[in-house]
Symmetry: C2
Subunit: 223 residues, 2 copies
DNA sequence: GTTTACATACCCGATTCGGGGTATTCTTGA
DNA sequence: TCAAGAATACCCCGAATCGGGTATGTAAAC
C-alpha cells in the first residue's frame, strides 16, 4: 500500500525534479501536483475523503497564497492531511509560522531525497520531522520559553538597575498593596515606601502603578 | 578524522551493546564510557581541552545524578560538548527538561543504530536531532506557545463576560490612560468611562488599576 | 577625603481613582 | 410584553497616589 502524496511548488523545474526522484520509490505515489496554493485547493475538492493525499509537500514562497496560508486552510478543511514544508527558508519567522499553521515537517530544499522519503514515512506514522538546522532553532526557542524564572528576574533587575529593596517594593505594587501596607510588610515607614516608588518609577520610566505592573510582568520582574 | 564520543549509561548490557554497534562505524571513536554521571564528570576532568569527546550519548535515568542534571553541568563546564539524549522516556517533562538543560538531540533507545550514527553526524555539523515522536511533541509545544493572539483575547473576553466596549475600556486602562483620556479616545463622557470601569472591576473581581492590568496581561486580555 | 548608591524618613498640594449610588434608552430573546 | 444586558450619563465624597521637593546615615570605591 503506497503513500499518496501531493506536491505544491510554483517552480516547474523543482516540481518535476521532486516528482521524478520521488517517483523512483515504489512506496510513494504522487496523486496531486499543483503550481500554487489555489490550484492545490481546487484539486483537493475533487478527491473523495478516501482518496485524499496523506501528505502534501508544500513550498512556502509562491504567487498568490503562500504555502503557510495554504497550510492553514488545508489543516482546517482536511485535518487528516499532513503537511511537509519544503523550502529554502531557514529563518525563524517562517519556521514558527509554519508550525503555527499546523505543518508536521520542515525540510530544506537541499536536503537529500532520502531524507524526504524518510520524512514522508515518519509523518505517515504520526511523527514529525525537522531538518537538523531547523531543529536547533526550535530547541532554542523551547529553551528560551522555559528559562528559569529566577534567572529572568535577576537579569531584568540588572537591566533596570533596581536594588534588592526596590524589587521588594515593586513586588508590593504588583500585589496591589497600599503604601502603608508595603511599609508594614517591610518594617519601614510609608514615607520610605513612597520614596522607593519614586525611584522605581524613574528607573522604569513609568508614571503610575498600572504602568509599573504592566512592565514588571512583561519584562519578567514579577509574575 | 573520526568523531569522538562518550557513552553514559548505567545498564552495562545497553552500554556494551551501544559500544559494539557504534564500534562498527569507523567514523566514530568511543573515547569515554561511564556507568553514571559522576563517573563521567570525573573522567572528563582527565581530558585535555583538545581531546574531549565532541558528543556524549546520555541516559536520563541513572543512580545518583540524572542525565539531565549531568547535561546541565557538562554544558556549563564544557559548552563545546554536544549532548545527545538516549532514553526510553517520551513524556514531555523529560523532553523539555533535557532541552532546557542544553541537550542537542533526543533519541529513543529503540531507534535504529543508523539513526544514532546520523544524529551524531548532524550534531557535529551544528544541527540538532529529534526522534519523530519527540519532534511532534516539541512542535505542539511551539504551536501552543504561539496561539493566535486574537483567539486568546476572544476566549478570555468570553470567560469574563466582558462586552466589546468593556474590552476597549480595559485596553485604555492597560495603556495607562486617565478616565478623561479614555473618554476622549472613545467619544464618551469620563463619567461613562467611570461606570464601565466599575463594571469591569466587578467582572474581573479586582479593585484597582494595578490588579486589572495584571490580570488582563496574565490572562491574555491585553498585551 | 570625596563621590556615589542605597536605605531611611518627611512635607505638601494637586489629581485621580474607587465605590456608593442614581438614571435613561436601546436591543434582544423568551 | 417583559426582563436582562449593554451603553450612555451623572453626583458625591473619601482615599490614595503622584511628583515636587527636603534630609541624614552608611558603605564602598577611587
Amino acid at each position: 500500500m503506497s503513500i499518496q502524496i501531493g506536491i505544491v511548488e510554483d517552480q516547474a523545474r523543482i516540481r518535476e525534479n521532486l516528482k521524478t526522484r520521488l517517483g523512483f520509490f515504489e512506496e510513494i505515489e504522487i496523486v496531486l501536483e499543483a503550481e500554487n496554493a489555489d490550484n492545490a485547493l481546487q484539486q483537493l475538492q475533487k478527491f473523495s475523503k478516501l482518496t485524499l493525499p496523506q501528505i502534501i509537500l508544500m513550498d512556502i514562497e509562491m504567487p498568490g497564497k503562500s504555502g503557510i496560508e495554504a497550510t492553514h486552510i488545508i489543516k482546517k478543511e482536511y485535518p487528516e492531511i499532513d503537511i511537509l514544508i519544503q523550502t529554502v527558508f531557514e529563518n525563524e519567522d517562517k519556521i514558527f509560522q509554519s508550525i503555527q499553521a499546523g505543518a508536521s515537517g520542515y525540510l530544506l530544499k537541499d536536503d537529500p531525497i532520502k531524507k524526504y522519503v524518510d520524512a514522508i514515512k515518519e509523518l505517515v506514522n504520526g511523527g514529525a520531522v525537522l531538518s537538523p538546522s531547523i531543529a536547533i532553532k526550535v530547541m532554542k526557542f523551547v529553551k528560551n520559553e522555559q528559562s528559569s524564572k529566577v534567572d529572568k528576574v535577576k537579569e531584568a533587575q540588572e537591566e533596570f538597575s533596581l536594588s534588592d529593596r526596590e524589587l521588594e517594593i515593586l513586588q508590593g505594587i504588583v500585589e496591589d498593596l497600599t503604601e502603608p501596607q508595603i511599609g508594614e510588610k517591610l518594617f519601614i515607614s510609608p514615607h520610605t515606601v513612597r520614596t522607593h516608588i519614586k525611584n522605581i518609577y524613574k528607573k522604569l520610566h513609568v508614571h503610575s502603578r498600572a504602568s509599573a505592573v504592566r512592565l514588571a510582568i512583561k519584562r519578567g520582574l514579577a509574575q
